[in-house]
Symmetry: C2
Subunit: 146 residues, 2 copies
């Protein structure tokens, strides 16, 4: 059976692509460049419930996502978090922070910020930029030459 | 030169022990069972700045810390976060959450909670419990039989 992403995660983000372990999506909020990484493993809520192999893969994909956000959006700092207090399906937030953003230097959760959804065009543009960035970082010449 | 932990991290926590990659300490706040994991690598601020080997080790140690907190403190959920907006030295927060805690189900950063420091006796007790738990989980028979 195909992996199913929790509807609250799917409903608050736009699918980008699947990696070796994680489904990667863009949080539908223009306040910050923000990715969800969701390990495609059923019934896993905690990082320590992953197999050692998946755990190493997760670290690699978190690092990759952070490096991409840093590179593409010129973020001042990458923030990474796995809570899951509301949505038990294991998901990791990886997002860029700026010294000028509304919550800096606090956690984004320390301020109430209204979400700003992407328009359809904006969403399509960001997803393509992210896909190209990921491909370039992976050394995928075909994608780079497009 | 020996690794030096940022004074703000060292000053807000109690040293427990060094693992393969991380210095592990107990945040000096009884509100939550809370560990700091600080990779003993100079000049690293982001997860993606670690070598691939260190990155895999970090994932392993984050998972181990989470499993220990779950086991020892019977936490309802493990929360994990790496921000570093104020203290650039890479450090990972791994802590236990409870359905009855002051911030549940929100992020702990969404509420203002006064820190409750451990007394010296309490601190010593918790550190010993954590050391024993880590040793037991590592299958260290000597420590288990104490």
């Amino acid at each position: 059976m195909a992996f199913e992403m929790d509807e609250r995660l799917a409903g608050s983000s736009h699918f980008i692509e699947d990696w070796g372990l994680c489904r990667v999506s863009l949080k539908n909020d223009k306040n910050w460049p923000w990715l969800y990484l969701v390990p495609m493993r059923d019934g896993v809520s905690e990082i320590h419930e992953l197999s050692p192999e998946d755990c190493a893969l997760l670290a690699d994909e978190i690092a990759f996502a952070g490096a991409a956000i840093k590179k593409l959006y010129n973020a001042d700092k990458i923030n990474t978090a796995a809570f899951g207090n509301m949505v038990p399906q294991l998901h990791i937030h990886v997002f860029g922070r700026y010294k000028t953003d509304a919550a800096w230097p606090g956690a984004v959760w320390s301020v109430q910020t209204a979400e700003i959804p992407y328009t359809v065009d904006e969403k399509n543009t960001e997803i393509q930029k992210l896909k190209n960035c990921f491909a370039e970082m992976r050394g995928d010449k075909t994608a780079c030459q497009q």
